[in-house]
């Protein structure tokens, strides 16, 4: 069964013991890991969470090239966080570097704008960056090991109404729909002579914006196809669908993994309370 990552970018995760776990386990593990982000309040705890998330990601068999693709994203987000703590505010601490950008002599004083790098601002930047890195690892673990059918069956087993189970599953499927629809619209524009490569960034942006109208039209059409299919099957949003068709029981491995993750969450919560 294709995972969300496979549907989005075509990357298939190789077989690993983690992938053989029950879909409920594969949904709960990233959920518990992301819950730990709440408890990571200092640099040490966030570093521990980041290492743990990365270790689980490696154990799940996700190829490292997937994570490598996020490096540019992590770098850009880190730069913005650094700017937040160095360009717009002066975090109290030992000043390591200072550069005055602007100085205005006003009627009742002087206004100065400087980049101030302190040891505390660097630590805060590192803390935020590690937290974002953890969230990226956890999100990657989730999309690389869970498919939309896993979501559907997992939520159905919890006895949730069809409106929620189908909706949650469709959300992830919808991202895939959007990306494929966008490719179709882009090709149609290129067939009409639009050259995305040779246009300026601003013009290219406007071209993409123009694509929003056909994309939303396609959304309406798709929405009707899906909703008609659901209605013809006699399923209303409030229907509670049976989970018994895919009710394979949790294995001993599932219980072990879930127990370990609960213990880790409790440990992080304890660290948060006591620290």
């Amino acid at each position: 069964m294709p995972t969300l990552l496979e549907e989005f970018v075509g990357v298939r995760v190789g077989g690993s013991p983690y992938l053989r776990l029950h879909s409920v386990t594969r949904i709960i593990v990233p959920f518990l890991l992301s819950l730990n982000v709440l408890f990571a309040k200092d640099l040490l705890s966030v570093a521990a969470l980041c290492s743990l998330s990365f270790a689980v990601l490696l154990l799940s068999g996700v190829p490292l090239r997937v994570v490598r693709g996020y490096l540019a994203l992590i770098a850009s987000v880190t730069i913005f966080i650094a700017l937040a703590f160095m360009l717009f505010t002066k975090v109290p601490g030992r000043v390591l570097w200072e550069l005055q950008l602007l100085r205005v002599q006003a009627e009742r004083g002087v206004w100065e704008w400087s980049i101030v790098v302190t040891d505390a601002s660097l630590l805060r930047t590192l803390y935020f960056s590690l937290r974002i890195l953890s969230m990226i690892f956890i999100a990657t673990l989730f999309i690389a090991t869970v498919g939309d059918r896993d979501m559907l069956w997992g939520l159905r087993r919890l006895g949730l109404p069809a409106g929620i189970t189908v909706g949650a599953s469709l959300f992830f499927r919808g991202i895939g729909f959007f990306l494929s629809d966008f490719a179709v619209v882009k090709e149609a524009m290129e067939a009409r002579g639009v050259d995305f490569e040779r246009t300026s960034l601003a013009k290219r942006f406007m071209l993409y914006v123009n694509a929003l109208i056909p994309l939303l039209s396609l959304l309406v059409t798709r929405s009707f196809e899906i909703s008609t299919a659901l209605e013809t099957r006699g399923i209303s949003p409030g229907t509670r669908l049976s989970g018994s068709y895919h009710s394979t029981p949790l294995s001993r491995g599932d219980y072990l993994v879930l127990a370990a993750m609960c213990l880790v969450t409790l440990a992080f919560a304890g660290w948060f309370m006591c620290g």
Binding site: A84, F128, L170, F178, L219
Partner: protein, 267 residues
């Protein structure tokens, strides 16, 4: 039976509402991630100076009421988690900004009982008013920010900048409003313009405020309120006046024809 009579007869939440809302949420999330990475507001992860996602869920609020507001909330919640890296609680509180952003225009249309008719009678006015309103409001906003941050305490030259910005911004925005009223159905376009300004301001206050001042704990330093607020409001004004206007003109008849248009809040 006439199409509008059919739509009036149906007052139940159907799969079409749920599925359209979910697919719109997915699109909004993708566009939110792309916007916050390509056009970031310096120092504030997740805040974009050109938040294209708003062009999806704000018109959806006008067409489908609370479904648009929910699409805004959920896409922003996921954006807060990934790639912005805020905690689930911080993101839960912050995301109400996008809920408010879609709710404000939806409320204007519903409370004043305006039946959206975005047909264009004067094309030149439709092209001219969005940049005028966006530019005028941004200049006005920058003037106010300069006065609040520096003019009030330091005096000249900041007070002069403030005065000129306010006059120029107000003049441009007022011309934009007048042109907007000339585009077509006056009630619709007046509600749309009021919705754009309300949505940008209210969501900017909540969004920038919960990132820097009021959260558990605020993820960004308090000094970042004004840069985040200015970038947020300016970005929203541009996106809502230019992009969402185009979408409303093109797709309102589609939503009305297909029965997806919601007269009340949910159905």
């Amino acid at each position: 039976m006439h199409v509008t009579e059919k739509a009036k007869a149906r007052k139940r939440v159907t799969w079409a509402h749920i599925v359209t809302f979910v697919l719109a949420t997915a699109i909004s999330y993708v566009l939110a991630v792309v916007s916050s990475l390509i056009f970031p507001v310096l120092g504030a992860p997740g805040v974009s100076a050109l938040y294209v996602a708003a062009a999806i869920y704000v018109p959806l609020g006008i067409w489908m009421g609370m479904w648009g507001a929910l699409a805004g909330y959920i896409s922003c919640f996921f954006l807060g988690l990934w790639p912005s890296g805020y905690t689930p609680i911080q993101s839960f509180i912050w995301s109400w900004a996008d809920f408010i952003e879609a709710l404000a225009p939806a409320a204007v249309f519903r409370l004043f009982k305006v039946d959206p008719d975005f047909s264009v009678k004067r094309g030149w006015a439709a092209k001219a008013f969005p940049p005028l309103i966006a530019l005028g409001s941004i200049i006005l906003l920058l003037g106010v920010v300069v006065q609040v941050l520096w003019g009030a305490t330091l005096g000249e030259p900041f007070t002069t900048i403030y005065v000129y910005s306010v006059y120029t911004g107000l003049a441009l925005a007022l011309i934009g409003v007048l042109l907007g009223l000339m585009v077509g159905h006056r009630k619709t376009w007046a509600a749309h313009i009021a919705g754009i300004i309300l949505a940008s301001l209210l969501s900017g206050i909540w969004g920038a405020g919960t990132l820097t001042l009021w959260n558990l704990p605020p993820p960004l330093p308090a000094e970042l309120f004004w840069p985040a607020f200015t970038g947020w409001v300016a970005g929203d004004l541009i996106v809502l006046s230019v992009l969402s206007t185009a979408l409303l003109v093109a797709l309102t008849p589609v939503f009305k024809r297909t029965g997806l248009y919601v007269e009340g809040w949910w159905a």
